[in-house]
């Protein structure tokens, strides 16, 4: 399998060098996988919508990926891009034109064949302000986006249907993340006739090209997905049926799993029960651990005294004992020293970060003119374990003389305070922490560390704006040639190194994901902690007890 992948990658790299064209080879399917069977998965919160233009939740993210497809996707369980509804693509040498050749014979669940018109329609729809898509901004590099977003045009002038199986994208600037953008849910292909039929209720009646179709949705209780027998990817999905039971408290769901009524917890293992599960060898063997494209951090408002002084921010970086914070959450994370998580391309393995050094922190504070510390506020979300983490940080800060009072608030209120320039001196990001939308280093910059995010209502809660770095980020993102991806990753590493020098954040930890499954579930471990098909790759898992 590994060899096969390597040869595919080598072949596509070669093709890219020749004319920057990539042709996909058929994906391999797990030879041990069995066909058939039904599973039950629980979720605590309701599924909001299954409209790919709108859905943006933990629960519906992977469900939408199983009902719909995009031009691009990722190798199961990895962050490696691959063409999906596209058969091949071609990038013009200037990096501003992308041409995709579509597969033939791909059918929507309603039986109609998907063509290039559907691709164009889907992108026109997602960028149209009337759709109210939270993901519209991802398509900002496509020509004509500004007119559509301003309501001046109905369609993107940069998307052209060349023929029924060819669609061309023209961009206003070279965009190295564009292939990722074509893989994100918001770019998934929807059939116009079904969208028009159901209008605002399309999210309740999803019709896509995906591996599963929705056959039942009892509001607030359950959703049933059944295998799409006409799925274009032969051999997938393995399961005949998935029942999602919703509104289940995680503790109750865990009890049900232990009794064999449930196959998987869609939510995390409840913290109160985590140690109990891990202490039982039988259960522990069924826990899958994986990294997440996530970083938990403390922001310091760089426009507010005394955090406008870089020495103060560096002192805070040295004052917090991250290992202890990780212990608070039962070691379900690894301490972080930079904004990017370890599994993200561009992560700098050689970067050591700020050491935990109270004496040095005190010295830096004194140098900054605060030998006796100062008083400040630390905002945190009010759900466990965030208040406990905030308290640990508060205690660490007290050691170097910083008296931080904790403002423990509902998520929406913390977000509001962070988006207000005079709102919050410090914020612990837990519960709202950044999870990447796609596995690319740029995804941790723009909205949370770039100047674009340092606006009222933005997510750059440290209000850090370094124009020089913004320019470097734009430069890195104009390196479109996939053959130069390594070079581009290095450029990004350098950007984050510089961010850490200015220390607007204290990176605290990268959460690890632990999924508990029943004994009958089969498939590679990385499918259960898939970095993109979050939380689980439904298309590729299977059950072992079918004949």
């Amino acid at each position: 399998m590994k060899k096969f992948l390597a040869s595919t990658v080598a072949a596509s790299a070669l093709a890219l060098m020749l004319g920057m064209t990539s042709v996909r080879a058929e994906d391999a399917v797990d030879p041990n996988a069995k066909q058939g069977g039904a599973i039950t998965i629980t979720y605590k919160d309701d599924v909001a919508t299954l409209d790919p233009a709108i859905g943006y939740d933990w629960q519906n993210w992977s469900m939408i990926k199983s009902l719909f497809d995009g031009l691009m996707d990722y190798e199961p369980g990895t962050t490696n891009l691959k063409p999906d509804l596209a058969e091949s693509y071609e990038i013009a040498p200037d990096g501003k034109t992308f041409t995709f050749k579509l597969r033939h014979g791909v059918k929507f669940h309603n039986g109609r064949e998907m063509t290039a018109d559907d691709v164009k329609y889907s992108l026109d729809r997602v960028t149209n302000p009337k759709t109210q898509s939270p993901g519209a901004g991802f398509f900002g590099s496509i020509k004509g986006y500004d007119d559509v977003a301003a309501g001046k045009a109905e369609g993107l002038s940069g998307v052209t249907v060349v023929d029924p199986y060819t669609v061309k994208f023209e961009l206003t600037r070279p965009d190295a993340t564009f292939l990722h953008v074509m893989a994100i849910n918001f770019a998934h292909v929807v059939p116009k006739e079904e969208v028009e039929k159901y209008g605002a209720d399309f999210g309740r009646h999803p019709v896509g090209t995906g591996a599963f179709k929705l056959t039942e949705w009892t509001l607030g209780q359950r959703l049933v997905f059944e295998r799409n027998p006409d799925y274009w990817h032969k051999g997938l999905p393995h399961l005949d049926k998935i029942t999602f039971e919703i509104g289940q408290e995680p503790i109750v769901a865990l009890l049900r799993l232990q009794k064999g009524e449930v196959d998987m917890l869609g939510d995390v293992i409840p913290p109160a029960k985590f140690q109990e599960v891990m202490a039982d060898p039988e259960q522990k063997a069924r826990v899958v651990e994986g990294g997440q494209l996530q970083t938990g951090y403390v922001t310091m408002n760089t426009t507010m005294a005394p955090f406008d002084n870089v020495k103060v921010r560096q002192a805070v970086n040295m004052a917090i004992n991250k290992a202890r914070v990780v212990q608070i959450i039962n070691n379900r994370a690894v301490p972080a020293n930079q904004p990017l998580p370890p599994s993200m391309p561009g992560y700098n393995k050689d970067y050591k970060g700020y050491p935990y050094d109270v004496a040095k922190a005190k010295a830096l504070l004194a140098e900054a003119g605060h030998p006796d510390g100062f008083e400040t506020q630390l905002f945190a979300m009010n759900t466990d374990p965030n208040p406990r983490i905030a308290q640990a940080i508060q205690q660490d800060l007290a050691v170097i003389g910083i008296k931080a009072s904790i403002q423990s608030l509902a998520q929406a209120n913390v977000i509001a305070a962070g988006g207000d320039k005079a709102g919050a001196p410090m914020i612990w990001s837990g519960g709202m922490a950044w999870i990447a939308d796609f596995p690319d280093p740029s995804n941790f910059y723009g909205p949370i560390l770039g100047c674009a995010g340092a606006v009222p209502g933005g997510w750059n809660w440290s209000w850090y704006c370094n124009k020089d770095l913004d320019a470097k980020a734009a430069e890195a993102d104009s390196v479109v040639d996939p053959a130069k991806a390594g070079e581009r990753d290095k450029m990004w590493s350098a950007i984050y190194d510089k961010v850490m020098e200015d220390a607007p954040w204290v990176p605290i930890f990268n959460e690890q994901r632990f999924t508990l499954k029943s004994a009958r579930m089969g498939g590679a471990d990385n499918l259960y902690v898939d970095p993109v098909h979050i939380p689980i790759n439904y298309d590729n898992v299977y059950v072992k007890d079918v004949q």
């Binding site: 939270p134 999210g203 997510w459």
Partner: protein, 306 residues
């Protein structure tokens, strides 16, 4: 009677109007921006403003409230911000579950509460009386979250008598009803006890006893019907307490009612759902009180409607 009814109906409408205004104002003043919740973390400022405009949230408070009210009068509760479905549809689909739980809970609390109160009154001053009253006090003060998890653990996980949460059969209904009922049972036990003690002190009871009637006949044929009526009349008022409890109990048991809907909506500042559930609950409470007041004189002739 008709004048009374008309007056009460106008009062009820005014209360509902007041509830809608206060809730709307509180949600408007909330230091959280619903548009940021809808737009998510990757939205550009332009996307955020577009959504704000589409939802009419850039309008002043009075205009927003007026829009809401005019739509409300035609029965339209709007569309959920997050779920993007009609709020009416979301509530209607979950209302049967909540009503079922309410019926179950009322049965539980009456059954448990009235029998406890009756026994305590008859055995007044004894150890049984005291034990029952302590138990009723515990019932009233125990947090429903704890009671629910405790019942789940003992009867569903350990003993496997009932399913672990969920919805569908009568067996699913027992534990959540019991959890809700235990709180109410405490109140009913106390009311029933004092009502029964009152009745047992009445002259006619003494006369019956003097006639040589059997103790059970006195209690069940003469005293109980009189003692129970004022207690039963409390059910209408009970709906208020009930509406407060369903949020917790439905979440613990995964019961797909409007309490669970409200809880999820509150966490995500989904204002149309919060408004809708609040109004429906307020309506239920107002209706319950109204019915209780109208029925009271039929049950207890000493009460006159004016």
């Amino acid at each position: 009677m008709i004048a009374y009814l008309g007056r009460r109906l106008i009062q009820s409408a005014l209360i509902l109007f007041g509830v809608s205004l206060i809730t709307f104002a509180l949600l408007y003043l909330l230091p959280a921006d619903p548009v940021r919740q809808i737009a998510g973390r990757s939205a550009t400022p332009q996307t955020v403003e577009n959504i704000r405009q589409q939802l009419g949230l850039d309008q002043p408070f009075v205009v927003q409230y007026w829009h809401y009210l005019t739509k409300l009068i035609s029965g339209d509760l709007g569309r959920s911000y997050i779920q993007r479905s009609e709020v009416t549809e979301l509530i209607v689909s979950r209302l049967p579950a909540s009503l079922l739980l309410m019926v179950g809970a009322i049965l539980c609390e009456l059954l448990i509460g009235l029998s406890m109160g009756l026994i305590a009154a008859v055995k007044r001053g004894t150890a049984t009386d005291q034990t029952l009253m302590v138990a009723s006090f515990v019932g009233v003060s125990a947090p429903q979250f704890v009671v629910g998890l405790l019942l789940l653990y003992v009867f569903a996980v350990r003993l496997s008598w009932f399913p672990i949460g969920g919805y569908g059969t009568w067996r699913h209904l027992v534990l959540p009803s019991l959890t809700m009922g235990i709180l109410g049972a405490g109140w009913y036990a106390r009311m029933m006890r004092s009502s029964m003690i009152d009745v047992l002190r009445q002259d006619y009871v003494r006369t019956a006893r003097a006639k040589g009637l059997a103790r059970s006949a006195i209690i069940f044929r003469h005293a109980l019907p009189n003692a129970i009526l004022p207690v039963i009349a409390m059910i209408g008022i009970d709906i208020g307490i009930f509406m407060g409890g369903i949020v917790v109990v439905e979440s613990v048991f995964g019961w797909p009612g409007i309490g669970q809907l409200a809880w999820q909506a509150i966490q995500r500042v989904d204002i149309p759902i919060i408004m809708g559930v609040t109004l429906v609950s307020a309506f239920a409470i107002v209706l319950g009180n109204l019915l209780a007041d109208i029925i009271a004189p039929f049950i207890d002739p000493r009460i006159k409607l004016r």
